[in-house]
């Protein structure tokens, strides 16, 4: 019996965003697909999803000991930590959270923080995702300087939100970086932020969307479905939703008691299952914390991308 299959062909592919300059270390490309994840018989998925390893620009104060133990002493020195991610753990991309400048972490002066950041960039050479401190006021102050310091590195900077996007957009535009557009589990707001950013003359094809990340067991399904809905709209032609997705799985999963308060295996699996679930919903760039979880998800991506 020959069964006649129903194939979904979509007209609007997702934008391809390149991060990194590709000089010392290969840049990464995300997006570009014209199908739901891993359906290679129905469409193209030219770029495998990427795992970025999250680090801070200072020793982490409140990270789970499971992660600290896995990295060991290097976490005390952000540059060594970054190098270890690349050289010992095989990271192809890093996500640096500039926590040191947050008031909680002692509001390190920007000039000191930039020395560390520049060293991370030059000593590793891998594509960088750089996030502010998390304190909105401080970030509007520091991000233009951060952006300038990384000019020419073609980084991905975040995050721009509906109520606070102008400073970051202008500075990314000036220094040639891509930008993360943040929205609170809401397709309409996601689209709105993308429009606001592109209305400032920023190339929509350099936006990466953060639809919000929620952990397994804490509303993971909301993000799962918002990603699927957003993708459906993009595939049928909504160009203001045709951006690749970034999700911060490490930061969310390691807040949960299921990850923190049990053995490391369960914690790692919590991060892995959240990641692989969101990969099935269309995640393109996953920022992870535990190096063993990151390795596991990278191996999964290699496997599932095999045609």
């Amino acid at each position: 019996m020959t069964v006649e299959l129903i194939k979904e062909k979509y007209s609007g592919p997702i934008n391809t965003v390149e991060i990194g300059k590709g000089a010392l270390c290969p840049s990464i490309k995300i997006g570009g697909q014209s199908t739901f994840p891993f359906l290679f018989d129905e469409g193209e998925m030219p770029n495998p999803p990427v795992v970025a390893y999250e680090i801070l620009d200072c020793p982490p104060e409140d990270w789970s000991e499971h992660i600290i133990n896995a990295y060991g002493n290097v976490v005390k020195d952000p540059v060594k930590w970054a190098k270890a991610c690349v050289e010992d753990f095989g990271a192809r991309a890093l996500c640096v959270r500039l926590a040191s400048m947050h008031p909680d972490y002692g509001s390190r002066p920007i000039d000191e923080a930039l020395v560390v950041l520049r060293a991370i960039a030059s000593k590793t050479g891998v594509p960088l995702i750089v996030l502010g401190s998390g304190d909105e006021e401080r970030d509007n102050d520091i991000m233009p300087k951060v952006s300038q310091a990384l000019k020419g590195e073609n980084c991905l900077l975040g995050v721009a939100s509906q109520n606070n996007y102008k400073t970051l957009t202008a500075t990314c535009l000036a220094d040639g970086h891509s930008i993360i557009a943040d929205s609170p589990i809401d397709v309409n707001i996601a689209k709105q932020v993308n429009i606001l950013i592109s209305d400032m003359g920023f190339d929509a094809k350099r936006i990466v969307m953060h639809p919000t990340t929620t952990s397994l067991g804490y509303g993971m399904e909301y993000v799962y479905s918002i990603m699927e809905r957003s993708r459906l709209a993009a595939f049928v032609g909504d160009k203001m939703l045709a951006m690749p997705f970034i999700v911060f799985v490490g930061a969310e999963t390691w807040k949960t008691k299921e990850a923190k308060e049990f053995g490391s295996v369960q914690g790692i699996n919590w991060e892995v299952v959240t990641s692989t679930s969101l990969l099935q919903a269309g995640a393109d760039l996953i920022v992870m914390r535990h190096p063993d979880a990151a390795r596991s998800v990278r191996r999964y991506i290699d496997w599932i991308m095999t045609k």
Binding site: E8, F38, L216, S225, E258, V272, R299, I304
Partner: protein
């Protein structure tokens, strides 16, 4: 897919003979469409029309039940490709593989481990649903030993997996009153598996390597009188399986294609536990009715079960947190008191920021029928009166010495009224949870 009266009319004899009791065939068709009368009211209907009408009346993916009593579960009856379109209905059953190459002691230990894979989460008990005994050894006596050990101790449903029909017959005899699933491991799919399932009225899973082969095998089973079917589709590669599972679900839903309108049973292939877990997650997200794992360690099964709970959550029914007073950190009678709604994401976001602030606090989670703050306020579920009632009845007035309540910034407008009727001093907190850390650190009574 439901047919309209006109669709049905086209399949009737159109003779207006009145033998059915209706004046015209069209009148009967209308009654059929409303499911007021059974199809056999028409004595002249052709077999072909009857088939077409019956298959249209069935759900696009058949509901199959396995096991009995507390161990019973159902899979199938799914209606959508994406959960936001409606919801996923019958949660993927998690099975654990036991191979008969193991010793009797190992099997007994495994069964008791599986029986204990039970967890309490958000008011539900979640656990493994199935033990699949596989005749990997190829020996009949080993298979019988394994089935007997599992049958004696298992508290979950049983699946029997063999390529040998005679072994299967023996195994079925041992446990048929527990409504086991028969899994035919023989790709040539011999007739005696079909007769075994039919005679014992048991569900049957067929093993095949591709969609065409599956459609053929299913048609053969149906022709042989078996309707409770599952499909074990062993397409090549992980992405190949995800693609084929997607095709199967789509054909069943969009074309009501009967030969593929049955739930999928997926067996993990990867022997590496960490990859096996992600493999199982993939099958669960992409349409498998049953996933059978080799690993049974709770650190792996628990996250998998939680993923199932998440993805099978009805998107129309927000997950709610139990309305209560939650203590974050080492609270004292001087700790701040915050109020929010019982929508799980709202509560978890607030709780996580409060925790990060390291300022021990009370969070009053107010019953707002699972809505977020603004929605609940707009729907009159999160009002000054409601909050006052909670303040008076929850016992918070005995827990703290002060009378200062923090409300979400979005409902600042109610502060005057709330202050007036509750007698508490109202402090307006930030609009977004991200502002809570700063707010709490500067909090004063």
């Amino acid at each position: 897919m439901a047919l309209t009266g006109l669709d049905i009319y086209k399949l009737l004899p159109k003779t207006n003979c009145k033998d059915c009791g209706f004046a015209t065939c069209l009148a009967m068709a209308m009654a059929l469409a409303q499911k007021k009368i059974p199809l056999d009211k028409c004595p002249h209907i052709t077999a072909q029309a009857k088939d077409a009408l019956e298959s249209a009346a069935q759900p696009p993916i058949r509901l199959v039940s396995i096991g009995t009593g507390d161990a019973k579960f159902e899979v199938g009856n799914e209606t959508v490709m994406f959960r936001h379109e409606q919801k996923f209905h019958n949660p993927t059953a998690i099975g654990i593989l036991i191979e008969d190459s193991m010793s009797e002691e190992e099997i007994s230990a495994a069964v008791s481990k599986i029986n204990n894979l039970k967890f309490e989460r958000v008011g539900q008990t979640i656990g493994a649903n199935l033990i699949c005994v596989k005749n990997s050894s190829g020996y009949r006596n080993k298979f019988m030993m394994a089935v007997s050990a599992v049958e004696a101790a298992s508290k979950v449903a049983i699946a029997l997996y063999s390529r040998d029909a005679e072994s299967m017959q023996e195994a079925v005899k041992m446990c048929k009153d527990k409504r086991p699933l028969i899994i035919c491991g023989d790709r040539t799919f011999p007739d005696n598996f079909i007769s075994l399932a039919r005679e014992n009225k048991l569900p049957l899973a067929i093993t095949c390597s591709g969609i065409d082969e599956a459609a053929e095998a299913v048609s053969k089973a149906r022709a042989g009188g078996v309707e409770d079917i599952l499909i074990n589709l062993k397409s090549t590669g992980l992405s190949g399986r995800i693609q084929d599972y997607t095709y199967m679900r789509r054909l069943a839903l969009k074309k009501n294609f009967r030969p593929l309108g049955y739930p999928i049973i997926a067996f993990t292939e990867n022997a590496d536990p960490e990859l096996e877990l992600s493999e199982a997650v993939s099958y669960m997200m992409k349409y498998a009715g049953i996933v059978v794992m080799k690993n049974m360690d709770k650190e792996f099964i628990f996250p998998l079960l939680v993923a199932r709970q998440d993805i099978y959550q009805d998107p129309q029914k927000p997950v709610q947190v139990e309305p209560n007073i939650y203590k974050i950190g080492k609270v004292t009678k001087d700790s701040p008191v915050l109020v929010t709604t019982n929508f799980s994401i709202t509560y978890f976001t607030v709780a996580s920021e409060v925790e990060s602030s390291k300022v021990p606090s009370y969070i009053i989670c107010c019953d707002a029928e699972g809505m977020s703050v603004l929605t609940a306020w707009a729907a009159d579920k999160f009002t000054a009166e409601k909050i006052t009632e909670v303040l008076k009845k929850s016992g918070i007035e005995d827990m703290v010495a002060h009378r200062t309540l923090t409300i979400p910034g979005y409902v600042a407008v109610m502060s005057g009224k709330l202050e007036e009727i509750s007698g508490w001093k109202i402090s307006v907190g930030p609009r977004e949870a991200s502002g809570i850390i700063n707010y709490l650190r500067n909090w004063k009574e």
